[in-house]
């Protein structure tokens, strides 16, 4: 187990290093001059050269890369070209917003999606099953923009039930935190819950058809025990896999949702940085996102060993 863990952690570091290199190359091989952006349109050639030297952009690429990686592993991701703030501080500033958005939405979609999927699987073939499945199919096809703008239009503008979303830290006022994030949560959750419901349904139907479920029923266990203790444990393991990957992807920012609702999270930071060619920030965000995704995968694999007795790591 320890050896396995060690190998996996090394692999995560390797993946991050490669992603770091690829991102770096994108900004050096492809034409885009950060010095010009940082200096502004009115700069003379001499001024741009001076800025370039100051930013270390005149050194050989491999030297810049080695320097970057060495610093990145000590937590120094460089400084934003736009406002000269440390990238690490920018990320740390925005992270609570994205994490609040992702975790809140995850609670909603996991509970909603798994519940709908379970009911549908246990009532397979009935009218209720058909209605629920048609609903999830439709809900999974609704574009995020539509859900977001419709919620804003109806809930905020028409009925004035909630204020226009404006992030408030949970430490400041938990009520306002939840109230402001409710619409973005619903937007993300309606999309993901639909996918989870479908996944749960098909996986539960497959599990409930297994011989060991028949055995459990035959030995006279109450149906509740059969479903909860025997069916769900195996039937919900695939959900753990997709949940880890989805959450890992969302923690580093839901770009579209944050953009529509104007939430100052990592996604919005990415959006702004990309259009200002703010290379250190884009690199930082990409690394953070890759970090979340690879770590989420690792955690999923480890969780599997706990919940699925058939999986053992050597």
């Amino acid at each position: 187990m320890i050896a396995y863990l060690g190998r996996r952690v090394l692999a995560v570091a390797g993946v991050l290093l490669v992603i770091c290199a690829v991102t770096f190359i994108i900004f050096f091989v492809l034409p885009s001059d950060p010095a010009l952006h940082a200096c502004g349109k009115t700069c003379t050639t001499e001024q741009v050269d001076a800025v370039r030297a100051e930013m270390g952009l005149d050194r050989p690429v491999h030297e810049q890369f080695a320097g970057y990686v060495a610093k990145a592993f000590t937590g120094d991701l460089g400084y934003s070209y736009q406002n000269s703030l440390p990238v690490w501080d920018l990320l740390a500033d925005r992270l609570p917003v994205s994490v609040s958005l992702a975790l809140g939405a995850a609670v909603l979609w996991l509970s909603g999606g798994v519940l709908v999927g379970l009911v549908s699987a246990l009532r397979r073939g009935t009218g209720l099953d058909r209605v629920l499945m048609a609903g999830t199919l439709a809900s999974a096809s609704v574009p995020v923009y539509f859900t977001a703008m419709m919620l804003l239009l109806v809930v905020v503008q028409h009925f004035e039930l909630l204020p226009y979303p404006d992030y408030v830290a949970i430490t400041e006022d938990p009520g306002a935190w939840a109230g402001n994030l409710l619409l973005p949560w619903l937007t993300l959750a309606s999309l993901y819950a639909a996918m989870y419901a479908r996944q749960t349904r098909s996986s539960m139907i497959e599990t409930m058809g297994e011989p060991y479920i028949r055995t459990a029923r035959a030995k006279g266990l109450p149906e509740r025990t059969v479903v909860v203790k025997h069916g769900m444990r195996a039937g919900l393991t695939p959900i753990v896999t997709i949940f880890g990957m989805d959450l890992g992807g969302l923690l580093a920012g839901a770009v579209i949702t944050e953009h529509v609702f104007g939430l100052p999270g990592i996604g919005q930071l990415t959006y702004d940085a990309i259009f200002k060619a703010d290379q250190p920030v884009v690199l930082g965000v990409t690394l953070l996102a890759a970090f979340f995704i690879t770590v989420a995968n690792l955690v999923v694999d480890l969780v599997y060993a706990v919940i699925d007795p058939r999986v053992r790591y050597a």
Binding site: Y145, T270, A289
Partner: protein, 302 residues
């Protein structure tokens, strides 16, 4: 008494017969056909409606109110006009369907060809080739793809946005096909019919293309019908975030981006492209689900 004898039907035939009797497949299929027809006939449709994608109709918007359209839908502009400019929404939606379908179908095609090639090679060759290719797939799949696509597209030269989008979208999705194909190839490469062909002196190319490839078409076909709606969504997202196709080329994502400024005043302007996206994605998904069921040999044959 006559007994209907069902002579041996090919698996493809069975799947097709099942699809024809599946209402969800028929519904999805007709919507897909409708959008394809609209995309192909775009110049004809705009000739009938009388407005192209670029003409500013100043008489349709109230300039004293910042360009709010006088009417939502009218006989003149069937789906209304773009707030601020007065361009015809019907024309832009119809031409947007072209871009959306062109990019998503082409990206899916490139993904499938590249993914099948890589997957076949990995599964058939095995050994070190398999290890290297599988590691590469794992690596590409752990890239934060949306952020990477955004970053790549924002620094890429502005030559041909459509080709660029197709290339970049396929770059991050081929491993998903490759994985499916690799698994299938591994499971059938030691089956009797392949061994028989090998013993019979068939060349490597014959084994790959005549024995293995035809047996992979089912899972790959299902992937195609489910990848197209995903790619439609990605194209819209990239255009929405400003790195997709460039104006004046109209696209649904761009319209949605623009509608963000107007959603409170002119809701129809975001509802129309949203509805198009919803219908195409739903239709392809229905078709894909039905196809998967139809090709599943475990389903009861009827």
């Amino acid at each position: 008494m006559t007994v209907a004898i069902r002579s041996g039907r090919s698996p493809g035939r069975i799947a097709l017969d099942r699809l024809r009797r599946d209402p969800a497949a028929l519904f999805g299929g007709s919507i897909v056909a409708l959008f394809v027809a609209v995309a192909l006939a775009a110049p004809l449709l705009t000739a009938i409606s009388g407005w192209d994608t670029q003409t500013f109709d100043k008489s349709a918007i109230d300039r004293s109110l910042g360009g709010v359209p006088y009417e939502t839908f009218s006989a003149e502009h069937w789906l209304g006009v773009e707030p601020g400019t007065g361009r015809d929404v019907f024309a832009r939606v119809v031409y947007g369907a072209r871009i959306s379908l062109l990019i998503s179908v082409a990206a899916t095609a490139v993904t499938v060809v590249a993914g099948t090639a890589a997957g076949l090679l990995a599964g058939y060759a095995g050994g070190r080739t398999d290890t290297i290719l599988s590691r590469l797939m794992d690596l590409v799949m752990s890239f934060p793809s949306l952020i990477f696509m955004l970053a790549l597209l924002s620094v890429a030269p502005d030559a041909n946005r459509v080709l660029l989008l197709i290339a970049i979208m396929s770059m991050f999705s081929w491993p998903y096909v490759a994985r499916i194909v690799r698994g299938q190839a591994l499971s059938i490469k030691h089956r009797e019919f392949v061994e028989a062909a090998r013993v019979g002196g068939a060349s490597g190319a014959h084994l790959l293309f005549r024995e293995l490839l035809p047996n992979l078409s089912g899972p790959v076909l299902v992937y195609v019908t489910l990848a197209i709606p995903a790619n439609i969504g990605t194209e819209a997202a990239l255009s929405f975030l400003g790195v997709g196709v460039r104006p004046p080329t109209p696209s649904w994502g761009q319209m949605l981006d623009d509608s963000l400024k107007w959603y409170q005043v002119v809701p129809s302007y975001f509802i129309v492209p949203s509805l198009c996206l919803f219908l195409t994605v739903l239709a392809f998904t229905l078709l894909g689900d039905a196809l998967r069921d139809a090709l599943d040999p475990r389903e009861a044959r009827s």
